[in-house]
Amino acid sequence: MSLSNEINYRVNTTIGKAALRAVRWQAERQASNRWKTDYLAPQLKIAPRTKELIGRHYLEGQYANANAHRKVAWATSGAPTEFLKAMDFYVLYPENHAAVCGTARRVEDISTEAENVGYSRDICSYARTDIGAMLSGKTPVGKLPKPDLLLACTNICQTVLLWYRVLAHHFNVPLIIIDTPFIYTETTDYAVAYVKRQMEEAVPIAEKVAGKKFDEKKFREITRLSKTASELWSQVMERGKHRPAPISVFDQFIQMAPIVEMRGEAYTVDFYADMLKEIDERIARGVGSVKEERKRLLWDNLPIWYRLRYLAEFLAERGVAIVASTYTNAWAELAPMFDPQNPFESGARTYLHPILNRGTGYKLETMKRMVKEFALDGAILHNDRSCKPYSIGQIDQRDRLLRDADGRGVPALLLEADHNDPRAFSEEQAATRLAAFVEMLE
């Protein structure tokens, strides 16, 4: 990279970062609030920092490869990106970008761009949003850097396989696919070996794109940081066991961006360490996320990004706190599997085990365990029109939760919606179901 490019990059990102920091300072001073505080505790003090981190992440992306400064990889949320970071790739997660579009209520507009050229509304709304953004350039984050490399891992769904082929075709860049055999009950050594080999074989392809040698030492260090951040995130989840719960799952949805798109970074570790401190302070002061916590529930499946606040307030007003979720837990439960000394092998094992790559029985067991450990009164199963792998089996899972053989059955509600597409959400009907469900819990 030339000196002028380097200067250009530094100047742009430095100014941008300073601006984002100023916004955070202001937000911290004003203790600006996302929620109605009649029923909910004020938002976490760390929240402005999350915003700043996300802003910085996209800012860096904007300038990353514009001047050939850094190479950019687009990756699926469950992809083993640690080895790419070891080659200094800037990694962008289109699913996160789509979620940002969701919270910014831009999906209808952006997704329509994809639908107009023929992508069906039955396709996952994340894919439609990102393809729409790709085709039109529309995005709430300024500008997305074009990828130099694509990495798709099938451990979350098969949609990504086809979606990333579309991306590869459109951008005309190499696509690495990591195929992770589905785990019905337990994984096998040969499945681990198979994934490990794919990761190893991906290295030279990425090296060629990066124009850099793969640094094994750096890979171990990044794996260590991913592990530490996941462990801290896992402790954040655990704190939900306190009564009243210091943070709700809605808080987790907002604060989870760094663990998904900035894992493997030292500042992500610091961020969650500080978040944990703040949560422990809340526990010490007896502060609950929901002021009058009377009932505690589980959330299954992705959030409904465009109605987070509505749902948080609706439930809090009725004394209901959502304190555990299979979704936010997905980035916590794999922490013990990472082994920095053995990054390829342990990475293969880790990335084979996301909840979406395991049988529906595993999710049921996870939910039952949560009901017990978090002392829950019921469960809301978001039946997500978009995410088929997450939603399949929910009818039976609901049934089994209700009629648990150990006699600890809890009421469970199937709530139809879509995680990103507001057109698949009917507020009036959702409100009636939720209200009736809460009345039933009383």
């Binding site: 139809e416 009917s426 009036e428 009636t432 009736a436 039933m440």
Partner: protein, 255 residues
């Protein structure tokens, strides 16, 4: 003049019902009207009538339910139709079991335990399939009075299969069947069958505990009751005023 101690109002999509109960929780007074577009005005008018009807001047609780419950600004409390129907029906029939409430634009299946508490419920999906609208639309289209739909369907044993579950598509399917010369009775029988099959699927998600109880406007349709019994093999029992059960339950919650 009636001894009314609490009022319940059920603002549905097709009709608005208001019920007054006495101190013992008996259904003492009621009114039922087609829903008007301006809900607030209609509610105010009905409340004025109720005010003149009740014997004392004391202010009494008003509980609102139904999809328009949020528009009843005078309500002291708002409760969903699920809880209200369960409360009303349980109070009248004194039975746990499975309650099916088929309303104008949504249908519900509610599991009630022997103590009258709601254990579980299911509602129709985001569309009007499996609701009263399904029958209403066709009635209008075929110029058969709504009250006659059930009796006409029961007047024959022949039955035509209606495959669309979508209310709008079913309507066009019916039109094309008529054009092809199918008998109206057989079509209507098929139409009821299609609705009942949707309801039975909902009953299965909640689980059937005998007896089946019916509430909501569509409960008055004899074909619904008969076919529900045929399809499930369970006896179906009805309260005296199935359509008022939501408002009645709401009034009971006000006591």
């Amino acid at each position: 003049m009636t001894d009314i101690r609490a009022l319940g109002i059920d603002v549905g999509s097709t009709t608005v019902k208001i019920v007054g109960v006495d101190a013992a929780g008996n259904l003492a007074w009621h009114l039922l009207e087609p829903a008007e577009p301006r809900v607030e005005d209609q509610v105010t008018r009905l409340l004025d009538i109720a005010d003149r009807e009740k014997s004392s001047d004391a202010k009494i609780p008003l509980v609102a339910t139904g999809y328009g419950r949020g528009l009843v600004l005078q309500a002291t409390r708002r409760v969903t139709e699920i809880t209200c129907h369960a409360r009303g029906v349980y109070r009248e029939l004194r039975h746990g079991g499975t309650l099916v409430d088929i309303g104008g634009q949504d249908s519900k299946v509610i599991a009630i335990d022997p103590q009258g508490d709601v254990l579980d419920f299911a509602m129709n999906d985001k569309c009007a399939a499996g609701t009263g609208r399904f029958i209403e639309n066709t009635a209008r289209r075929m110029h058969v009075p709504l009250e006659q739909m059930g009796p006409v369907a029961l007047a024959t044993t022949a039955e035509v299969l209606i495959s669309s579950t979508c209310t709008v598509f079913a309507e066009s399917e019916v039109i094309s069947l008529v054009a092809h010369g199918a008998a109206v009775e057989a079509i209507l029988r098929g139409l009821h069958r299609s609705l009942i099959k949707r309801i039975v699927a909902m009953i299965r998600t909640v689980g059937l505990v005998s007896p089946l109880m019916l509430s909501g406007g569509v409960a008055q349709n004899p074909a619904i009751r008969k076919m529900l019994e045929e399809e499930t093999g369970a006896p179906v029992i009805l309260p005296q005023h199935p359509q008022l059960m939501g408002a009645y339950g709401a009034a009971l919650m006000g006591l």
